[in-house]
């Protein structure tokens, strides 16, 4: 990948880190959503931001869609495979195990995959927009 040299004004000094607990809620009319992004106002900066948002949205939708498909498949399997719901391990019917226990690892795995990939997307954005 070729690196694009960005000549946005912010890159020289970077953006000062905020110290936590400084903001006062009374000042909300000025809007808490300011200042950090002023630097990314340039046209090129906006292109990077748009592509970051798109890739994060695509990631979220893919993970959500995949999870919902698996979730929908659980009851479907129980309906389609006769006798499966009643057979069980240690006296616990399989239908209960699948829905009551089996869904949680799927949720956890989806979440972990998402957090990892989202952080990677952000790292790529930093590479593109933040580095000189």
């Amino acid at each position: 990948m070729t690196r694009v040299r960005v000549t946005a004004p912010h890159t020289a000094q970077g953006i000062p880190a905020r110290t936590p607990g400084q903001r006062i809620p009374n000042q909300r009319t000025a809007g808490p959503l300011e200042s950090r992004e002023a630097a990314q106002d340039s046209e090129v900066g906006q292109v990077f931001v748009r592509s970051l948002i798109r890739s994060q949205l695509r990631l979220a939708l893919v993970v959500a869609g995949g999870f919902l498909l698996i979730l929908a498949a659980f009851p479907l399997v129980l309906v389609l495979v006769p006798g499966l719901a009643e057979s069980g391990i240690a006296g616990i019917p399989f239908g209960w195990l699948l829905l009551g226990v089996g869904t949680y690892p799927v949720i956890g795995l989806s979440a972990w995959l998402y957090v990892r990939t989202a952080a990677r997307n952000e790292a790529r954005y930093r590479d593109l927009a933040g580095e000189q």
Binding site: G14, P32, G45, I53, A60, I107, G108, V115
Partner: protein
């Protein structure tokens, strides 16, 4: 103690179906002691926090310095309400695998929150949901409508907590129901007014682990004893203890829509994300929360299954929500039953206290900023306002099934706050007019369905009214998009800057180079 049984049976005309044994009540003295211990522990941790919260920022969001593990435990503690602690197990006892969608939905709702909301909302830097919508859409009118929705959601959500407290007090001690609701309100007011969010964080974290212990220890002990005695099952897990018809496909899907989309709009859940130092840690916190919730929900499921197999009579007694409280006494009896019952009562009380105080903190944040000017004194006054109104509601209404009424609150949230959050974070085209129109549409449709359902009574409403999320949520989204498109000239000029802020990582990591 006899009075406890008598009061409870008098409240259930079908109470004669109870198996004749001493296990249908909780020992009053031990239960009261357990409640007292939870209350005192809550107060002590709350007052300990008082010493370190001094500034306005401390009061609102604990200065955003809470560590992920603390924060995750606190989120778990706040989220696991009366519905999760009592309602889910009761519903599983009643309707078997159909009710398993409740715990799955409650947990999966957090996954949706992680995917679509957690990091951007933290990066917005706003304190409350109305703060966020106002800044995103540059419109005070949107702020007012969002505040209205948030306060409605919070009030509606506190009511079932108070109902749960009333039920627990009645069953555990035989005292009148109102004592339970009032006790929760007083304790919550004292802790919130005293310490704000900082002490709330410690209180909530403590209460997650208390709730987990209080559910896990008794059921594990019960399973151990049942297995040791080789107790014969009374019924098959698939057997229907009440003969009520199972839920249809529509109801299950609609419930799942409500739970998946409702979670990410809950005010007390969202306010927690502001206590993370940055967007990435907001995600990590959510990941931990998902683990904590997954572990927790194994236990209501186990209660439901054990009760279905070994104590199906509890379902016919008319108060399935009380099953978790009664099961240890019913299956074990004696001193062990009493002690374990007391532990469950303590956990249940922790659930009411933590969810109510979480809701009160976030409501007080909204009310004090919008009405009272955002000072610490205003926050305290607002906290009292936030809890007195639902107390009145709780006195006027009867307790429905807890998990069911909380499910309706999720449907309302999913139809009002959720669309404006999701579209606000991900869609550049959202306008103030679209947001207001969509929130009002969702609120009126879902609120209307809830009112009609409440007037008609349970069992009389058709599924599409009893479980409205499947059509009210798409309606709210559709109206929001269509009106925004029609008023595209109203997209605020600040939009690109704010979208940048929501989605870009906090710092260019100067420290790493």
């Amino acid at each position: 103690m006899r009075r406890a049984t008598a009061t409870w049976l008098a409240n259930n005309d079908s109470g004669n179906n109870l198996p004749a044994c001493g296990g249908d009540r909780v020992s009053a003295g031990v239960a009261l002691a357990a409640i007292a211990v939870v209350t005192v522990a809550t107060a002590v941790i709350g007052f300990y926090g008082l010493r370190i919260s001094r500034t306005t920022s401390d009061f609102y969001v604990a200065s955003r310095t809470v560590r992920p593990w603390w924060n995750a435990s606190a989120i778990g503690g706040e989220y696991l309400s009366a519905a999760s602690f009592l309602g889910v197990a009761g519903l599983i006892l009643l309707s078997g695998t159909d009710a398993l969608w409740f715990p799955v939905g409650y947990t999966a709702g957090y996954l949706m929150l992680l995917l679509f909301v957690a990091a951007p909302l933290r990066r917005s830097g706003a304190y409350t949901i109305p703060d966020f919508t106002e800044a995103r859409l540059a419109s005070p009118a949107v702020r007012r409508v969002t505040s209205l929705a948030v306060v409605t959601v919070g009030w509606l959500y506190i009511v079932p907590q108070l109902h749960g407290a009333a039920l627990t007090i009645r069953i555990a001690t035989g005292l009148p129901s109102w004592v339970g609701s009032v006790a929760v309100v007083v304790v919550v007011c004292l802790t919130v007014v005293a310490g704000g969010m900082r002490s709330i964080t410690f209180v909530q974290a403590f209460q997650y682990w208390l709730k987990l212990t209080a559910l896990a220890v008794p059921i594990l002990f019960i399973i151990f004893v049942l297995a040791g005695n080789e107790t014969e099952p009374l019924a098959a897990p698939a057997a229907n203890p009440t003969g009520a018809p199972p839920a249809g496909l529509y109801q299950n899907v609609s419930l799942l829509v409500a739970l998946l989309f409702g979670t990410l709009g809950l005010p007390h859940v969202l306010v927690r994300f502001y206590t993370n130092p940055d967007g990435h840690s907001a995600r990590r916190t959510t990941l931990i929360v998902l683990g904590l919730l997954s572990v927790f929900y194994l236990f209501p499921t186990a209660y439901g299954l054990v009760a279905r197999v070994f104590a199906p009579g509890l379902a016919r007694a008319g108060q399935p929500d009380a099953m978790v409280l009664l099961l240890p006494g019913q299956l074990l009896g004696g001193v062990a039953g009493d002690l374990l019952s007391a532990l469950v009562v303590a956990g249940a009380f922790a659930a009411f206290l933590s969810t109510t105080s979480g809701l009160v903190v976030s409501l007080a944040g909204v009310i004090s900023q919008d009405v009272l000017g955002g000072s610490v004194r205003g926050f305290r006054l607002a906290a009292v306002m936030a809890v007195v109104v639902p107390l009145g509601f709780a006195f006027m209404t009867d307790s429905l099934a807890l998990a069911g009424s909380v499910g309706l609150v999720f449907a309302f949230t999913a139809s009002t706050v959720c669309p404006v959050l999701l579209l606000g974070i991900w869609w550049r085209g959202l306008t103030d007019a679209g947001a207001i129109a969509g929130m009002l549409t969702g609120g009126v449709l879902c609120g209307g369905a809830m009112v009609v359902g409440a007037v008609a009574g349970t069992g009389q409403t058709p599924p599409w009214l009893a479980q409205p999320a499947a059509w009210t949520v798409p309606a709210a989204f559709a109206v929001m998009v269509v009106v925004s498109r029609a008023t595209a000239h109203r997209v605020p000029a600040s939009m690109p800057r704010i979208m940048t802020r929501l989605h870009t990582p906090e710092r260019p990591l100067a420290t790493e180079r």
